[in-house]
Symmetry: C2
Subunit: 314 residues, 2 copies
């Protein structure tokens, strides 16, 4: 499979590298690692992401400014990274070959070649294996992109996708020139004042239910306005509540700009909340799921969710 | 040196393992890793720490309940781990051999044998090397203790002491049975409600000076009382302020129980604040230092510190 993918790459004329909507460090690191390699092979390469404004935190990734929100003409090969389904690419079907590089268990195998390795901690590590198997020389810039994919998708080596290979790969990337402390500082130590103020709000306004086993935070539009936080600043902020010692499930309800609410739930390892998300037509994993609710009555919605969670915790 | 140390260990009758005052995961992980090995060698071993109450967060470390705050009689060998100076052990001098295992650059070489490796990310990694060099079989419990020493002293692979060897060691420890996600969850996801409330206070009450390059937080006794936080809960909380994008130096002033203040300063990589700590008879590293101040006027003290920092930032 790795050889087949490589053959397509070698024989292509114009390669389009696509990262997924709401991009994170894994999808961006993966396509930018490939960009570095493919350019050195003398290929014509374009980078596309649907999102207009990429999260500022990744601005240090080499060549990130080459990612455009417009699709070029006449490409004959698309490589998607870290996308479980075709519709997260936001590109039309067409007369091109598609290589699907991913590590999600839910991947829909939508490519002509599917390099899907669910044992890899990040899509970047699938890219890394592809490069190694084809004896590609990896530059320091490429290594930086791959390393970011690991730390982003493992929460700095903290999630259950970390195994001995993850650390071996990290060690090899350091050998190629990655400075782990510098990357950590760039990713962790440039929090916007607005995001810090939003966290301050969350930690001062959450509510506890069910003998403090359930934590709730409601963030309405005014809070975002007052703190200056962007909607993407709310990402994972609910984890701070799940990390409280007795809390087993944490819920964030975010008022949407044009009505309705976005709900994010995080749970402890042994509590599967994906079924609750499904009940509301949402999705996600065992310990991290979400859904959207139409309506305007925050209290009614939170009561409904609370009831379901209480049943779960019995 | 490793063989000499091992010879002392083999020939000893009663070994006392000593961790430093205000213990952290490295000093505790190191002595408990050694405890596991030495007991299996059939040695008589005691564990001593000066502190009455060990931080609860480490309660999962195998055999941690064997650490006592009383010194036994008639030991002939002391092994200290992660202690830069003899006075951090809080034991009397006496008729015993002392093996000093550490990784601090400031280590005072106070032992009869000094296994001091400043290139090691943690004292635990010096212990690990000692065990490997002497072909000791490492159990899963021992590996857990050593792994905790790494993640604690590298901030989950984020500090400048991380190199390719750190990741190689982590990989080997995972191979010996360590579950990285489980350890991360035990260390990160059991925050006390009091500590979370204290963080909430900090994020809602900090002040910015000097075009937001300096962040200040003042925590008085009443805040600890109201949040229920312990004094050790304030440890590293100032990092949240240093991690704000424009902030280059963050200062926490903590009112002491019996008068005076404890000051903790954190700075960005290129700003050396150790000299400021020295001016106040304190100590520390380039980017993390602290000192104590006598007095009762918080405003006067913060003005003094601010002045020094402003001079530094010019």
């Amino acid at each position: 499979m790795h050889q087949k993918a490589w053959k397509y790459i070698i024989n292509s004329k114009h390669i389009l590298l696509v990262s997924h909507v709401s991009p994170d460090g894994d999808t961006l690191g993966s396509v930018l690692a490939l960009y570095d390699v493919l350019k050195k092979l003398g290929k014509k390469v374009s980078l596309y992401n649907f999102t207009k404004e990429l999260p500022r935190i990744y601005d240090f990734l080499p060549n990130i400014n080459r990612i455009k929100d417009t699709i070029p003409n006449h490409f004959d090969l698309v490589i998607s990274c870290d996308c479980g389904s075709f519709d997260r690419l936001k590109i039309p079907r067409g007369d091109y070959t598609l290589i699907n590089i991913d590590h999600h268990i839910s991947n829909e195998y939508f490519g002509d070649v599917n390099l899907v390795d669910t044992s890899s901690a990040s899509a970047g590590m699938v890219v890394y294996k592809l490069l190694i198997k084809n004896c590609v020389k990896i530059s320091k810039n490429c290594a930086i992109c791959l390393y970011v994919s690991i730390v982003e998708d493992t929460g700095f080596f903290s999630y259950s996708n970390v195994d001995k290979q993850t650390f071996k790969d990290a060690s090899s990337l350091v050998e190629l020139g990655v400075n782990p402390a510098k990357i950590a500082s760039l990713l962790k130590s440039r929090q916007s004042l607005a995001k810090v103020r939003l966290l301050g709000f969350v930690l001062n306004n959450f509510e506890l239910y069910n003998e403090a086993k359930i934590a709730f935070i409601y963030i309405n539009k005014e809070v975002l306005l007052e703190t200056g936080a962007k909607r993407y600043d709310t990402k994972n902020i609910v984890n701070y509540l799940r990390d409280i010692v007795n809390v087993r499930v944490a819920v964030m309800i975010l008022e949407e700009e044009h009505g309705g609410f976005k709900v994010s739930i995080r749970s402890e390892d042994e509590i599967d909340i994906s079924s609750i998300a499904k009940d509301f037509d949402g999705g996600g994993h065992k310990n991290s799921a979400g859904f959207e609710v139409i309506g305007s009555d925050f209290k009614e919605i939170s009561k409904k969710i609370l009831k379901k969670l209480e049943d779960k915790l019995v």
